[in-house]
């Protein structure tokens, strides 16, 4: 019955809680000692992320071993390990296929009545995937940041926040229960706020930070209420138990499960930038580029998708996903809308980071769509591959701004023709773009195609079309962005760089004023001594701290897809993670469809078409030759209106900021406050004044008139003198007090009489 815990699972699997703990400790160390360290605390951050990465890698390795060689069946081991950890291993493994029990290590946190809360780790395929991903990308981004934010006035704070972010995300990823999940979720929100507003001297940045936190918080309402509903329904906070009960849900309270699913999904809408709460994410680009690449593209924003994947039985059963005859559901609809509207907006952006931001929103829509149609593996795998290529794209954008365009992100004004001078950046960008477009044999193809294929196969036909149209749009807007950035004539900041004037800092100020989020806080950034050495084969590109992470991510943008390449018959990732959605349950998630090139062909053709059309239009519109297409939106009123509609982001921001927020913040809040001051307080004051008047009348007529009436004439004089002598108001306290106590005494008397 009691087994030695280390024999049961493996050191890394049981001690995975160290993965978030190390960066959490590092956060405090950076805060405390960072400024005194030779490298401003960045070394602590990077060291902690490397340590986490090593443990995460060990955990992944042991997890793979565990899946491939399941431990003895039917064994329940409960052992007390070191540090008082109670470990439970439910090894109800392997009735059908690869169902491997998660490894759960927990430490009791507290109990209140029937609420039992623990902290610890819940390790399964899904958790391992994200742990590895987050630790890996955090490490690369921190290395990149040492160069990118070098000389920043809040360098140490930057590393503290970004390390805390990783701790928060890792805490959430391995959360065994909803409370720990919420803890990690909210810490990420805090760090997002701090990092978007990193250069808070500028109002635009602090407003973006506020907007991000607030919008996500609107969704978080759903997280709180949804968790409360699950707790009421299942009586537990443990994710494993919730999943198990939801998967086998047979109660008559199905409505409550549906409610919980919807509430939780609202939180996912906020966090993962889904329509209609996606508006914060593009604004969040006000943060430094490493932040955009880490938080707002590859890791934090997938938290909502992760929540749906984590509690998939709740959503799958609650929303009747994959039930025969269903062709729409909330998750698929929201995901589908998000795919299209965000892709549409990516066309009209001049800011390269905004293109990528809308692209991220659109890709998050794919993930949601995938979960909505039952393509769990595809969606989770898309989290995985998207993280590498989107992070790479953002870091490319940062590299361009850092080296090539004088800290501007404006593609039209300050970029163009950069491919020769920045070869590493260019190649990585192209590779990542192809992965994003879903070009065959790049990573994005394998993950995205499985989502598209499942939509068709599982009879969500509308979403199949949404997905392939979205793919075509993706190809088109990325072609436009690529053309504007790397091809054509070098403009503005890029022109100085490409034509060898990159030391001409005299023009910098004008650029910095005109645009560029990064302009601020980089005051002492330009001293040449600060730039480290570039790689020997790309001397004009950014320095090695920037290009090395780029190369690594670029490689992964191709090869990460081969972990699960149905086109090549590889289903390894699926095999490793499929147990995460509940073992041996009554829930039926359909297996991914068999891959066939014929089924993939329509989507690929549309991607090709999107690429070709966009290339032609880009050349015509942005190229050097004069063509009829230039300025078309100014001449054609219909196109112009469409363009304006897109530029204004479908007027959603206007709706939120001008209508909803202004209504709550101004008329409603003011009306409430007016009520407070004039109605409620009015009553209080009226009672006070009424009491005073009554007192005066009683005094005047009863006391002075009747009782004291015998003392003729002197009353008025005395009253006047008395009033003048007393402090204006404090003297009346006695009077009021006496009156109130008198009333109380009468009341008491009445009650006593009534009751006896």
């Amino acid at each position: 019955m009691f087994a030695e815990s280390t024999e049961a699972a493996g050191w890394f699997l049981e001690n995975a809680w160290l993965i978030p703990l190390i960066p959490a400790v590092a956060f405090f160390l950076i805060l405390g000692f960072g400024k005194r360290m030779p490298r401003g605390g960045s070394e602590i951050g990077i060291a902690s992320m490397l340590a986490s990465l090593v443990i995460a890698a060990g955990t992944a390795y042991q997890w793979v071993q565990r899946v491939d060689a399941p431990v003895a069946e039917g064994e329940h081991a409960l052992a007390r390990g070191s540090f008082g950890f109670a470990r439970t291993f439910s090894e109800e493994a392997a009735e059908a296929g690869h169902e491997v029990a998660p490894v759960i290590s927990t430490l009791d946190w507290f109990d209140i009545g029937r609420l039992h809360v623990s902290i610890g780790s819940h390790i399964d395929g899904l958790a391992v995937t994200l742990l590895l991903l987050v630790a890996f990308i955090s490490t690369l981004v921190q290395i990149y940041s040492t160069e990118y934010v070098r000389g920043d006035r809040r360098y140490t704070h930057f590393f503290a926040s970004i390390t805390l972010f990783s701790a928060g995300m890792l805490t959430m990823v391995l959360a065994p229960n909803m409370l720990q999940f919420i803890l990690g979720w909210e810490i990420m929100g805090l760090c997002s706020f701090l990092l978007i507003g990193h250069w808070w001297e500028e109002t635009a940045n602090s407003k973006a930070a506020l907007k991000a936190f607030f919008t996500v918080r609107v969704g978080d309402m759903g997280l709180l209420v949804g968790t409360a509903a699950l707790f009421a329904l299942f009586g537990t906070m443990e994710i494993g138990e919730i999943n198990e009960q939801a998967a086998n849900f047979a109660g008559d309270n199905k409505g409550m499960l549906l409610f919980a699913a919807i509430a939780l999904f609202i939180a996912c809408i906020g966090k993962s930038g889904q329509f209609p709460l996606h508006t914060w994410l593009p604004d969040a680009m006000a943060g430094p580029t490493p932040v955009s690449s880490l938080l707002h593209s590859s890791t934090m924003v997938v938290a909502g998708v992760f929540l749906v994947a984590r509690l998939y039985p709740v959503f799958h059963v609650g929303l009747d996903i994959n039930v025969a005859g269903q062709s729409f559901n909330l998750i698929a609809v929201i995901g589908g809308i998000t795919v299209l509207i965000a892709a549409g907006l990516a066309f009209v952006q001049d800011d390269i980071k905004k293109v990528l931001a809308y692209s991220t929103v659109s890709q998050l829509g794919y993930m949601m769509l995938g979960l909505g149609v039952g393509a769990w593996t595809g969606a989770v795998f898309h989290i995985f591959t998207h993280a590498f290529f989107k992070c790479a794209l953002f870091l490319c954008a940062g590299s361009i701004a850092h080296t090539g365009s004088h800290h501007s992100f404006d593609m039209k004004k300050d970029m163009g023709g950069l491919r020769k001078k920045m070869p590493v950046t260019f190649v990585v960008w192209i590779v990542s773009t192809m992965a994003l477009m879903g070009v065959p044999f790049f990573s994005g193809f394998f993950s995205k195609d499985e989502i598209i294929d499942s939509a068709k196969h599982n009879h969500y036909t509308v979403f199949y079309f949404v997905a392939i149209i979205g793919a075509a749009m993706t190809a088109a807007y990325m072609t436009r962005a690529t053309y504007l950035t790397f091809f054509g004539k070098a403009r503005g900041g890029a022109a100085h760089f490409v034509h060898g004037h990159d030391d001409a800092h005299d023009t910098h100020d004008a650029h910095a004023d005109a645009h560029g989020h990064d302009a601020h806080g980089h005051d002492d950034h330009h001293a040449p001594a600060h730039h480290s050495a570039p790689l020997p084969f790309a001397k004009t590109d950014s320095s090695w701290q920037i290009t090395v992470p780029l190369i690594i991510l670029g490689v992964l943008a191709i090869f990460s897809g081969y972990l699960n390449a149905p086109a090549l018959g590889i289903h390894w990732f699926e095999h490793m993670t499929e147990s995460s959605i509940g073992a041996g349950s009554a829930m039926s998630v359909p297996p991914p469809p068999e891959f066939s090139w014929a089924a993939a062909a329509p989507g690929l053709l549309l991607v090709l078409a999107g690429f070709v059309v966009s290339l032609l239009i880009s050349k015509a519109v942005f190229g050097e030759k004069k063509t009829a297409l230039q300025g078309l939106t100014q001449r054609n009123s219909l196109l112009g209106a469409g363009h304006k509609f897109l530029v204004n982001k479908y007027y959603l921001d206007a709706l939120y900021e001008n209508v909803i927020v202004k209504a709550v913040a101004y008329p409603i809040a003011r009306a409430a406050y007016w009520t407070n001051q004039h109605v409620l307080d009015g009553i209080v004051n009226a009672v006070g004044i009424g009491g005073k008047r009554t007192g005066e009348l009683v005094y005047k007529y009863v006391d002075q008139g009747l009782v004291d009436g015998a003392v003729n004439g002197s009353g008025a004089t005395a009253r006047g003198a008395g009033g003048a002598l007393q402090p204006v108001q404090s003297g009346k306290v006695n009077l009021y007090g006496a009156l109130l106590f008198g009333a109380a005494a009468v009341g008491a008397l009445v009650l006593v009489l009534v009751n006896s």
Binding site: A209, M221, A665, D681, S730, Y736, A744, L751, V752
Partner: protein, 542 residues
């Protein structure tokens, strides 16, 4: 009941009065001596409190400890009964800690018009009243302490307050007094009714909590509902609950910093404590009927308080309104009549005391430096006073309920509890409407969004951004704002400096406590839970 060290609670409660006695003989001019004696007394009191903390038997935290009962006013059957259990222990200690910290802060922050000696005497008297309220185990004794608190606070606001202090102090006093009067009526009625109940020997009747705990539940429901009504108003004014809250913003805004801190940290809790300790356990049959009303008013308070915050232009008034919202969460938790809800409420009381107390401290220090709290005039505090700015940010995050900080554990469990309030079959006093409470939960959750809105909005406008021209050129301002020119403005605001030593001493314990209780909430939950179960058990629920 554990009747050991019976002297301990009386010592802890009345020790401050000894200090007052000594201070009476110190000449008014000798301010340092007066401050010194007061601070030493407060620290000694806190030492007694810590000794209590050490001696407390945590395995029996549901029992009254250091219990003692004596004859007091025999003709009216009032007894001197004091005791401490898991519910009162955290609040009892909190009051002592806050008093010491407020005194440290006051060391060089005595507000206008001075008179240090009187100011410190009032704080000591206040401490006796607060501690006494939490240890009293007799209704008359409780009432006396409850009222003792009023007077020092009245003078604190009325003498050392802001421009509109007279109005605010009078309103505070009268409003609370009005509530107390009705409360006293209810206490007396409760006594009379239980005394005359059939099968009870009238000679046994007295005002001790134990008596009411045993006999209150036998009162006919209709009578109990009326008696509860009086207590409800008395406590609801003190909490304050919507719509009895209008004294609070005025009192908070006009009070000196020290008054605001004590008011927020301790005085508001007297009301919620009264609900948990007196109204609900003594009259469970009425509590079940009143709970939905309390719940609805609590949730209105959450939204209403938040909206009030959004309408404010003054930082201190904004914090004051946020108290209305936060106490709404506390009352929502209480109104669920479940173990989870009441535990959350008790936690929320302490957490709100720490966090809002800190916010008022910061507001006071900001006012002292800038001579204004108008939000639109303040900007770039992080540049001029980085430490102060970060502390404000920390408190704002704690106040909006960030997990890992104390505020979260008052809020989230309350939401959990209100989704699933007292309900089920065969409950002795009936259950609550689950549908109503689930609706309330959703609205309350909206309150957390608004809280994020007003706090971050406050923070963004005051701490972020560049220093406003009005205050530029002074303070920390380390980041090369040379262009603003120290010469031009240097003379006006030379007092804008970062957190000073006294502030650090006063604030550090609170900041640490916010983190510690946020990370290890079991420190408090474990102490409270058994005592709370004892109350909720009578409802037969979860």
């Amino acid at each position: 009941m554990i009747q050991e060290q019976q002297w301990l609670l009386s010592l802890g409660t009345f020790l401050p009065l000894v200090g007052v006695l000594v201070m009476l003989f110190i000449p008014k001019k000798d301010e340092v001596a007066a401050k010194g004696v007061a601070l030493v007394t407060a620290i000694a009191t806190l030492a007694v409190g810590i000794y209590t903390l050490v001696q407390f038997d945590y395995d029996q935290s549901e029992k009254l400890q250091f219990f003692t009962t004596n004859k007091w006013i025999t003709p009216i059957k009032a007894t001197y009964t004091v005791g401490l259990d898991g519910i009162s222990l955290p609040l009892y200690i909190l009051s002592m800690v806050i008093t010491v910290l407020v005194m440290v802060y006051s060391w060089n922050h005595v507000p206008e018009p001075g008179n240090t000696k009187a100011f410190f005497i009032l704080m000591l008297v206040l401490q006796t009243g607060m501690a006494g309220t939490f240890v009293a185990q007799d209704l008359i004794l409780f009432f006396v302490f409850f009222e003792v608190v009023l007077l020092p606070m009245y003078f604190m606001i009325g003498v050392w307050g802001g421009e509109n202090r007279q109005y605010a102090s009078l309103k505070f006093f009268l409003y609370t007094m009005f509530g107390s009067a009705l409360m006293l009526v209810s206490f007396i009625a409760l006594f009379v009714v239980t005394k005359n109940a059939p099968g009870v020997n009238p000679d046994d009747a007295n005002f001790s909590f134990q008596w009411f705990d045993e006999h209150g539940r036998d009162i006919a429901r209709d009578t109990a509902i009326w008696i509860f009504a009086g207590m409800f108003i008395g406590f609801a004014v003190k909490v304050p609950m919507f719509p009895f809250h209008t004294w609070l913003p005025d009192a908070h805004t006009q009070a000196p910093t020290q008054g605001s801190v004590i008011l927020a940290a301790i005085l508001l809790k007297l009301g919620t404590y009264g609900f948990v300790r007196i109204a609900i356990p003594f009259l469970p049959q009425a509590a079940v009927k009143w709970a939905p009303i309390i719940g609805v008013l609590a949730v209105i308070g959450i939204i209403y308080g938040a909206l009030g915050c959004l309408a404010q232009t003054d930082m201190k008034r904004l914090i004051a309104f946020s108290s209305v919202a936060h106490m709404g969460f506390v009352m929502l938790g209480i109104s669920t009549l479940t173990d989870l809800g009441i535990s959350a409420a008790l936690f929320g009381m302490v957490a709100h005391g720490l966090i809002t107390g800190m916010l008022f401290f910061v507001a006071g220090s900001v006012k002292e430096r800038y001579h204004t709290l108008e939000i639109k005039r303040l900007s770039g505090m992080l540049l001029q006073m980085p430490k102060m700015g970060w502390i404000l940010g920390f408190c704002a995050m704690a106040s909006l309920g960030l997990p890992g900080l104390a505020g979260f554990w008052g809020e989230f469990p309350a939401i959990l509890a209100s989704w699933d309030p007292l309900s089920g079959e065969g409950l002795p006093y009936g259950g609550l409407s689950v549908g109503l409470y689930q609706g309330l939960t959703i609205v309350a959750a909206l309150g957390t969004v608004l809280a994020a809105g007003y706090l971050l909005w406050l923070y963004q406008r005051t701490a972020f951004g560049e220093v406003s021209a009005e205050f530029a050129g002074t303070g920390h301002d380390a980041h090369g704002h040379d262009s603003h020119g120290h010469d031009a403005h240097g003379d006006d605001h030379s007092d804008i400096h970062d957190v000073n030593t006294f502030e650090w001493i006063a604030w550090t314990p609170l900041l640490i406590a916010i983190v510690v209780f946020g990370v290890v909430p079991s420190l408090m939950f474990d102490v409270m839970d058994p005592a709370v179960s004892l109350i909720t058990d009578r409802f037969g629920g979860k």
